[in-house]
């Protein structure tokens, strides 16, 4: 019994050793190790060993925290940002430069435009045409399956996540066509899109978010996919859903492709505000505020508006009104300065102390001539104030102003 068991033990020990080797081998011989080795050879041949030695090894990844996205595509596609490999075979080709200038890898990574499974480090999984991953790389393979002429067109669906509110975007021909068709055919007569439109048809604002299972594929021949459904539906709505009242617009297959891409691009996934094209990240002043500033610029106190004094100070006697009113009204600066600092206005403005010294030395830089101009104007302002006081004291009412 013992010796039999001992033999079993040896056999098991050896198989465990073998299995360890197997696990070790599998861990260290992934798809990407082959590609990296091949790329090194490729670069050595083309640019010499020195350049090849600089190629990083191991899993590479681009992490875009803003988009909560990790893409490991550059593990195999190592030449994306190289120069001189524009015509090399994939995965060793340089990425077209112009688009990367506006969409740097560090801010957009890869799959936000191309699709695919960024986490993955094995070929079929990464290209995403696998079970349980619904975002394949939108390139030649999928384009051919749907007879899309331009193999880069499908990608426009992803581009439109951020360019959704553009009327027209450079390089997005399919989506541009589709957007034009939406206006031309007046889709909004029946459908609400982005909060505007009719209620006869379904709201399409988040059409791209509709789960794949919620389409009726029973009347489709061929592939059961959302894209195929939309294509068929745009070309003949009643054929796909017999109860539909949507008219048949007789779209060409290319138009149907474009419209399908547009509809599928309307997704709900939150995108950071700074990624959305056409959204201005500033508070736009209201028309009222603009008019007021314009009026102040035309008046006697224009100097104080031009030189930004009015950010803190009103000069009410000259019609200048500060929104913040942090500083005192400068209408009576002549006497006010005297009482606050014990100095004349002329003296103070030429050599200010306190807050004004900081402001006038860092933020508002005035030449000596401009300072003289300010002093002169402030004296006028004081004059005006006195005049207004006299006017107000008289019984006849008069409107405030100049």
């Amino acid at each position: 019994m013992l010796s039999k068991d001992a033999i079993k033990l040896y056999v098991l020990g050896l198989s465990l050793l073998g299995l360890t080797a197997w696990v070790f081998f599998r861990e260290n011989r992934m798809d990407w190790t082959d590609y990296q080795a091949e790329f090194k050879e490729f670069v050595t041949e083309k640019f010499g060993a020195e350049r090849a030695a600089q190629i990083p090894t191991g899993i590479q990844q681009i992490w875009v925290k803003d988009l909560d996205q990790v893409d490991r595509c550059t593990t195999c596609h190592q030449a994306v940002e190289w120069k001189g490999l524009e015509t090399a075979p994939e995965p060793y080709r340089t990425h077209p430069k112009e688009i990367l200038e506006k969409h740097p890898l560090t801010a957009y990574a890869c799959t936000s435009c191309h699709g695919g499974q960024g986490y993955s480090t094995t070929l079929p999984d990464a290209h995403g045409n696998v079970e349980h991953w619904d975002s394949p790389v939108l390139g030649a393979e999928v384009s051919e399956a749907y007879l899309v002429k331009n193999s880069k067109a499908l990608m426009e669906m992803n581009c439109n996540s951020c360019h959704r509110y553009d009327r027209e975007t450079k390089g997005m021909d399919y989506i541009n066509t589709a957007k034009k068709l939406v206006e031309e055919k007046n889709c909004r007569a029946c459908h609400t899109i982005n909060g505007r439109g009719g209620i006869i048809g379904p709201d399409l604002t988040f059409e791209g978010e509709k789960p794949t299972e919620q389409f009726d594929y029973s009347r489709l021949t061929g592939r059961h996919s959302v894209f195929a459904w939309h294509m068929a539906h745009f070309q003949n709505p009643k054929m796909v859903s017999p109860d539909s009242v949507m008219p048949n617009f007789g779209f060409s297959s290319q138009d149907a492709q474009a419209l399908s891409l547009l509809a599928m691009s309307w997704r709900k996934k939150p995108i950071p505000a700074n990624y959305i094209s056409g959204v201005q990240l500033r508070d736009v002043p209201t028309q009222e505020e603009i008019d007021k500033e314009k009026r102040m610029l035309e008046g006697e106190g224009a100097f104080f508006v031009q030189n930004k004094c009015f950010i803190c100070h009103s000069v009410s006697s000259l019609g200048v009104e500060s929104a913040a009113k942090i500083g005192p009204d400068l209408s009576d600066a002549v006497t006010d300065v005297q009482s606050r600092f014990g100095r004349t206005l002329d003296d103070f403005l030429m050599d200010p102390t306190g807050t004004m010294s900081v402001v006038l030395s860092t933020q508002i830089l005035l030449t000596p001539e401009q300072r003289q101009q300010a002093i002169a104007l402030l004296k006028v302002a004081y004059q005006r104030k006195l005049e207004q006081q006299i006017k107000n004291a008289s019984p006849s009412p008069s409107p405030a102003g100049k």
């Binding site: 068991d5 299995l19 696990v23 986490y119 349980h132 749907y146 789960p211 794949t212 996919s225 959302v226």
Partner: protein, 460 residues
């Protein structure tokens, strides 16, 4: 028998000595291929008693307890699997993030970028599935051999209690697996737990509150994930550890594996009738289970071997076999990871974890429509039937009146009927599990394994 093997080979006198001996080939080789050869039986016994891990084994053990064919070592295999799961799980705890936002991504990372992450996750997953299966088989073995019955060997035997502990351990194993099922936070996880907890909620009165407490709310969300995580990584393993220790201790208290009982029966047959004058004794007055004054004398030494190395070597064989089998399966079977959990999209079909699929099948079978009324089977199939089964399992030893002679034997004639009933239930569970796993397709329709399902729609 083999006991003589234990003594060390006689030393050859007069060979290499001193300096030369230390560098001689043979001792060096012996050092490399170190073997345990206790010089005496006492040394062999000490090796067990002194060792922290081994001391829960007896110093000597009967050969039939060690045989492969009686127990199939299923309890030991379960314990080894638990050990594998504890170790891999401990490492996984460093890598997995139990948050709704990060859980799925951290599992993707394990699959694709963490060194040996795919292996860790695969081994943990296979280990868990195997443990459910092996613990169940262990229970089947114990039932079929009547090993939950008290015999005559030891005072203070309480095998029925240990059987109940075993049933509790099976339930905890299922819960461990069930709580772990949610953690990857993919569609498979999310909907399996949805189905599972919906069945639980159909229990009268307690159902809804139980589900609410389990989920930490009314939907499966962050609160659920953290609850399942803490249960999975802390409370349930702790309970398992505690109960397994008690389970083992009880095995010792109950006089070892039930198969040794039959020797007492054999010995009893051989024994001469006792002389009447010897039947009174103080022991008779003190009472208790030891009133059988004519206690059978069994030569305890007969057929017994020292645990070291007989049991320890076999333990090593079982441990290594379990590890090797788990690793091979890990390398062959791909651990699935579906799309990220999406409450808005119900997969068709949505299935519970495989070991609960017989329950889901029962729910289907017991759901029927009479006229305009639909009777929901969740209560009958999901709560009452499994509840009755567990209760029956717990109480069975107390109603099993078969003779002591049937203990510790496979398929004894005396327990024919109860074994048949038990096997019928086991077969039903297995068949329903098979149907649920391999034959249920979209809309819970029956699909033969060779029949193709409708194609799953895709985006492109």
């Amino acid at each position: 028998m083999a006991t003589e093997n234990i003594s060390a080979p006689p030393a050859k006198p007069g060979t290499n000595s001193g300096f030369l001996k230390r560098f001689a080939f043979k001792p060096a080789w012996e050092k490399l291929t170190w073997t345990w050869r206790p010089e005496t039986k006492r040394e062999a016994g000490d090796a067990i008693v002194r060792n922290f891990v081994l001391h829960w084994f007896p110093a000597k053990v009967s050969l039939e307890s060690l045989s492969w064919g009686y127990s199939f070592w299923l309890g030991t295999i379960s314990a080894v699997l638990f050990l594998i799961l504890t170790i891999t799980g401990g490492v996984l705890m460093f890598l997995y993030v139990p948050s709704v936002e990060r859980a799925y991504l951290s599992v993707k990372d394990l699959e694709f970028s963490t060194s040996y992450g795919w292996f860790l996750r695969g081994l943990h997953r296979i280990g868990a599935h195997l443990m459910v299966a092996v613990v169940f088989l262990h229970m089947v073995r114990v039932f079929l051999t009547g090993a939950f019955k008290n015999g005559r060997k030891a005072v203070g035997q309480n095998r029925p209690l240990n059987w109940i502990v075993g049933v509790a351990l099976l339930l905890i194993t299922l819960l461990l697996s069930f709580t772990g099922y949610l953690l990857p936070w993919d569609q498979l996880a999310y909907w399996a737990i949805t189905v599972g907890t919906n069945i639980a909620s159909s229990a009268p009165v307690f159902g809804e509150p139980t589900r609410f407490i389990l989920l930490g709310g009314t939907t499966i969300e962050q609160a659920t994930l953290i609850r399942f995580y803490v249960l999975h990584c802390f409370l349930l393993p702790l309970a398992t550890l505690w109960l397994v220790s008690y389970h083992m201790w009880r095995v010792r208290k109950d006089g070892g594996l039930a198969c040794v009982e039959k020797r007492y029966e054999e010995a009893k047959k051989e024994e001469q009738p006792a002389i009447a004058s010897k039947t009174y004794s103080l022991l008779g007055i003190t009472g208790g289970t030891a009133v059988d004054v004519r206690n059978v004398m069994v030569d305890d030494e007969k057929d017994k071997v020292p645990s070291s190395p007989y049991l320890t070597v076999r333990l090593a064989v079982v441990t290594l076999s379990t590890l090797v089998a788990s690793i091979v399966l890990t390398l062959i079977v791909k651990a699935p990871l579906e799309e990220a959990a999406n409450p808005a999209v119900t997969p068709n079909p949505a299935k519970a974890p495989w070991y609960f699929l017989w329950l889901q099948e029962l729910v289907t079978i017991t759901t029927f429509t009479v006229g305009g009324f639909t009777i929901n089977g969740a209560l009958i199939g999901g709560i009452i039937l499994p509840g009755v089964l567990v209760l029956a399992a717990v109480l069975w030893p107390y109603f099993d009146k078969s003779p002591v002679s049937s203990i510790g034997r496979w398929f004894p004639k005396e327990r024919k009927w109860q074994n048949w009933i038990f096997l019928l239930i086991v077969a039903a569970i297995l068949i329903l599990t098979f149907i649920g796993t391999y034959m249920r397709g979209p809309f819970w329709e029956i699909y033969m394994p060779w029949q193709e399902w409708e194609q799953t729609p895709r985006k492109f």
